[in-house]
């Protein structure tokens, strides 16, 4: 049962895959867990352990698809750690959603790195659950109901947390917060 050895050929390929993707994946993981490098390290390791089990499928994929698979698997593992006790049945549909929607193409670069750096300081300084809820919502594109299920909290609580994150960003960034200008009709009042 659990003792299937990995063939030397697969092991060599997996090492190459690790060397090619681990760095990027570590960065992704750090952002997910608010800069906790030790945890990010473990997540990277877990994602590649999963890759070893799925290698028959993965080795046939293009590099970029493989990267997508690794990122979504890592996000799945991280998120299943966030969750308190949501039933599996409720988690299944959103796992699919998450898998599908992790965005890969960078949008046009529009904000200055100074503004981005300031944003990050504020985001990073948020209470952990707010940080996580906001990241799931706006980085991984999850719906509020799904976030509620993953974190094992009420949907209202999620809405309230997201609202607070929004307020924090707006008040702390002051008049030059980067999402004001792009969006004059929707955001100004």
């Amino acid at each position: 049962m659990g003792d299937a050895k990995i063939s030397p050929r697969d092991a060599a390929e997996l090492e190459a895959c690790f060397a090619a993707h681990a760095r990027d994946l570590f960065g992704f993981a750090c952002a997910l867990v608010r800069g906790d490098r030790a945890l990010a390290d473990d997540l990277v390791q877990s994602a590649f352990e999963a890759a070893a089990r799925a290698w028959p499928t993965l080795r046939g994929l293009a590099e970029q698809q493989r990267q997508g698979w690794l990122r979504s698997t890592l996000a799945n593992i991280a998120v299943s750690g966030f969750r308190r006790d949501a039933a599996l049945t409720r988690r299944l549909p959103m796992i699919e959603v998450r898998y599908r929607q992790i965005p890969d193409d960078p949008p046009d670069r529009a904000f200055s790195s100074i503004a981005l750096e300031r944003c990050w300081r504020i985001i990073e300084g948020m209470p952990k659950r707010q940080y996580t809820a906001a990241l799931l919502r706006w980085r991984l594109d999850m719906k509020e109901a799904d976030i509620a299920a993953v974190l094992g909290i009420a949907e209202n609580t999620v809405s309230a947390m997201l609202y607070r994150v929004r307020r924090t960003l707006i008040t702390q960034l002051g008049p030059d917060h980067p999402f004001m200008g792009n969006d004059a009709e929707g955001a100004a009042s």
Binding site: G2, D3, A4, K5, I6, A11, L14, F18, A22, R23, D24, F26, G27, F28, C30, A31, A40, D41, F48, E49, A50, A52, A54, T57, W69, N76, I77, S80, L88, T89, L92, P93, I95, E96, Y99, P106, P107, R109, S113, L116, E117, C119, W120, A134, L135, R137, W138, R139, D141, L162, Y163, R166, L169, I170, F179, N182, D183, E185, G186, S189
Partner: protein, 219 residues
């Protein structure tokens, strides 16, 4: 910005998404630059050498992985069998939940996938059986209009092949879908349908002949 709005409008959401995408992208790159690749690789290499397969490959994680990798292909398979996508999704999710419950007996992804396929086929069959009962009941109109808005299949559903496929007897349709659509081997089909390889051959051959006839008639 305005005061007491609890649920932001989607334009606000979109703006925040952009901020988050850009902020995290920048931070990811910064974190990535500080990664100790040698140490990570070393740890992974040790794990690989010690034989992989950690004991804590829990049912949860297994299901998540299999789900990520195979959910959509299984839904497509079920959708061709039951002829509508929402039902197909239900069938597949049920199959995953059953697999999760029975994980102690499976414990390996090859077996689990075979199990999932078989569960999908079985459950699709019972859906069809149930529908037959409903269709025989004259009060209700036959529910055979697939809900068209389910992107994945609409293209396929339009094609004449799928239309012809729908008119085939159940076993022939299953055999053909598994063979040419899910790309399974004869042995895998036999296992999924719980019939002999010879029976797979004959179902496939007869199904193909019927399809050919139907398509020729059409053109």
């Amino acid at each position: 910005m305005r005061g007491g709005q609890e649920t932001g409008p989607s334009s606000d959401d979109m703006a925040l998404s952009r901020v988050y995408q850009e902020v995290t992208r920048e931070q990811e790159a910064r974190f990535a630059a500080g990664y100790d690749l040698a140490a990570g690789l070393d740890r992974y290499r040790t794990w690989l050498r010690e034989g992989g397969e950690p004991p804590e490959w829990s049912a949860d994680l297994a299901v998540i992985e299999l789900y990520s990798a195979h959910y959509r292909s299984l839904v497509r398979l079920a959708a061709v069998l039951v002829r509508d996508t929402p039902t197909a999704e239900e069938v597949v999710q049920d199959a995953f939940i059953a697999m999760h419950d029975g994980w102690q007996r499976l414990k390996d992804s090859e077996k689990a996938l075979a199990y999932l396929r078989q569960a999908v086929v079985n459950r699709s069959r019972s859906v069809l059986r149930h529908r037959l009962v409903v269709e025989r009941n004259p009060q209700k109109p036959p529910p055979d209009m697939p809900s068209a808005e389910h992107g994945a299949l609409t293209l396929l559903e339009r094609s004449a092949v799928i239309a012809a496929l729908r008119d085939l007897p159940g076993r022939q349709r299953e055999a053909i879908v598994l063979r040419y659509y899910a790309d399974l081997s004869e042995a895998e089909i036999a296992a999924a349908m719980k019939i002999s390889r010879g029976a797979v051959k004959s179902h496939t051959a007869r199904g193909m002949a019927a399809l050919r006839a139907a398509l020729e008639q059409e053109s």
